[in-house]
């Protein structure tokens, strides 16, 4: 019996460890553990005014703070039956787009690329490959700029409130942003080229991919929960199919669909909705056939999405005029509100119960990483067995496992504070 432990997986968001027990060529135990302490976010929301819930939940994670803020606002609005304007929806879409560009670019250049280029870190990579870091920073700065213009600052946007925005950017700000977006297509194209040419391991494991699906739009904020295996349900019915459970070794929760694992994220969105990508993004896929069963291809899917979101933002800014607008009146009432959006790493669920005093009585949040954890464990197990058959040494084994974990783009800080609700 061999035991392999990676006590601190580096170059991922949050803290995680992995324990493997191996007998001959079989992995007998595979435990991926978020070692981050639990912060009990859902519990903290109980008894707090629903109007400020998003101010608390955006603090679950700075990297995805726009997604948490927007999804929380939508869930409260659904409970209070507030209908926001088309402009508010577009501004929220822009917030999410900025965040997705920033998140993907950070993940690809800072976490993934050093492994493939043979550097221990992006900082080491910067000393001999400065252009790569400049490209990364150009895309990250673009994403940051979108969130800052629309939301007031780069991380934890604050102008987005219940019923609208406290500030609508001026025309000149959007004009400059539009120019910056157009210019960034070059870097986005180079990024896609770079990540199409990486030598991804040829590893496949069959899986189900879930994402939001709308008729004419790539997954973002609306639509039904969908998979190409015939799963197709209303957002509000998620709790009839998806459940969370805890493992005694972890502070994170694991989400499964009717007891079986599934995956979410860029590769899932692309698997289910490739046709809806922008034309410019589709054109960048020249050489490899994206395999939805190869988790390493998630990296290339993210690179294509960067171009897709840049072109989507260009479209939004070209087709719309933004003006000052009153924030919708909020009437407090008792109710339950559910909202689902696509965060950079996949579907994010918010489910609030609100009492007649406007305070939250119960909250359930399911993050993308919770949904991917089970798949990640099964991937690691299957991939390690492939590597063992190829007689891989321990050093190679550890590097490859880390590459696989990073390919999923987990955020362990987000995965660790989720309410145990036994639905079904």
């Amino acid at each position: 019996m061999k035991k392999i432990t990676i006590s601190h997986v580096t170059k991922v968001e949050g803290h995680a460890s992995l324990t493997l027990k191996i007998r001959k060529d079989r992995v007998e135990k595979c435990q991926l553990e978020a070692i981050e302490g639990a912060r009990f976010f859902e519990g903290l929301l109980e008894g707090r005014p629903c109007i400020e819930a998003h101010e608390i939940t955006s603090r679950i994670c700075g990297i995805c703070s726009s997604s948490h803020a927007v999804c929380s606002l939508m869930a409260v609005e659904n409970a209070l039956k507030v209908r926001v304007s088309k402009q508010t929806k577009l501004l929220r879409e822009l917030l999410l787009i900025g965040e997705r560009i920033r998140s993907h670019a950070t993940h690809l250049y800072f976490f993934v690329l050093p492994d493939y280029m043979g550097y221990e870190s992006a900082i080491e990579m910067a000393s001999s490959n400065r252009k790569k870091i400049d490209d990364a920073l150009a895309l990250i700065t673009l994403g940051n700029r979108i969130v800052e213009i629309v939301g007031g600052r780069e991380i934890h946007p604050f102008t987005c409130v219940l019923g609208g925005f406290t500030n609508v950017p001026k025309k000149e700000e959007f004009d400059t942003l539009l120019e910056q977006l157009k210019k960034s297509r070059g870097v986005a194209a180079e990024t896609a080229g770079l990540f199409e040419d990486l030598h991804y391991p040829e590893f496949e494991r069959n899986r189900e991919h879930l994402c939001l699906k709308e008729k004419s739009k790539y997954p973002s904020m609306g639509g039904r929960i969908y998979s190409d295996r015939g799963f197709n349900v209303r957002q509000g019915d998620y709790h009839k199919y998806l459940e969370e459970y805890i493992e005694p070794y972890a502070t994170a929760k694991f989400a499964v669909k009717k007891g079986k694992e599934y995956s979410v994220g860029a590769l899932a969105r692309m698997d289910d909705c490739y046709k809806l990508l922008s034309d410019g993004a589709k054109k960048l896929n020249k050489k490899i056939k994206i395999s939805s069963d190869n988790p390493f291809h998630n990296n290339f899917a993210q690179a294509l999405e960067i171009m897709h979101w840049i072109e989507t933002a260009i479209g939004i800014l070209q087709k719309n005029k933004f003006k000052k607008e009153e924030i919708k009146d909020i009437k407090i009432r008792k109710g339950r509100g559910i909202a689902v959006i696509e965060a950079p790493r996949g579907m994010l669920f918010y489910d609030y119960h609100i009492g007649k005093d406007g305070n939250i009585t119960k909250a359930n949040i399911i993050t993308p990483t919770c949904q991917n954890l089970r798949s990640m464990e099964l991937d690691i197990k299957a991939y390690v067995e492939v590597l063992l058959k190829e007689k891989a040494g321990k050093e190679k084994l550890v590097l490859e496992i880390e590459k696989l974990i990073r390919a999923h783009d987990p955020c362990f800080s987000c995965s660790t504070h989720f309410l145990k609700v036994k639905w079904l």
Binding site: H8, T10, K11, V12, E13, H15, I35, G37, A38, R39, F40, F41, E42, G43, L44, E46, R48, P49, E52, E55, I56, R59, C61, G62, I63, S65, R102, F110, E120, S121, A122, I123, A126, R130, D134, L137, I140, T141, N144, G152, R153, E154, I155, H156, F158, T159, V161, T166, N167, I246, P248, Y249, T251, E402, C411, C414, H417, F418, L419, K420
Partner: protein
Amino acid sequence: MGCQLSIMYQAELFGILEKIELTAFPVIKGKNQKGPFDIIFLEGTIVSRKDLKIVKELRKKTRVLVAIGSCATDGCVPQIKNFMKNVEKSVYNKTGHLGAIDPVPLDRHVKVDYYIRGCPVDKIEFLNFVKDVLLGKDFKTYEKPVCHECNLQENNCLLEQGKACLGPITFGDCSVMCPHLGFRCIGCRGPYTDANLNKFFIVLEEVGLTIEEAKKMMNKFAGLKISDMIEEGIKQGVVDKRYSMKTKGQ
């Protein structure tokens, strides 16, 4: 998790890194040394017994400890748990394996030499700190409340418009970004040292908040530190007892 990564989002930092030996940074680096260190920048709140042990060990290994972001300086949103009962049970069925303790900022358990405030931390402020270290200057934190700069910007006062803004009791140096765009200050940089908390409660009551609502507003980012200030004020007879904001343990 935002603070650590956001400080990397600036081209200038990569130039400065050449002048520094960055020996450990697990979110970015694959190879990390175990110390001792000259300076440690620490992000996050202490939420478990394990965290506490790690923080104490790190303190022993470093000459200078810098708390970055609201979590490390004030406990941020997780510290709300100190003012609530039964939070753990409502999130997890079983909680024994978590080793959870009520979240506290770093300075409850170890000496903190410098604070870089805010949620998130201001990346330029971080850069300025590093530059000051390289120049051998002592980093000075801004010692005025948000209102000071807000007045200079000639923004319309949100409190005067009846909105519950925490500007008067919160450390400034944030470019007043929130009030400037019509959003009330929610106190993410922690309580201003000389804040008149008794008067501020009266102001919040005047804009229509109940005392309970006012306390909830004030315990969101730095409740523990504000609570300490209030209890001290009550002891000295300068804060009304009705405003007592004790933690569940007190």
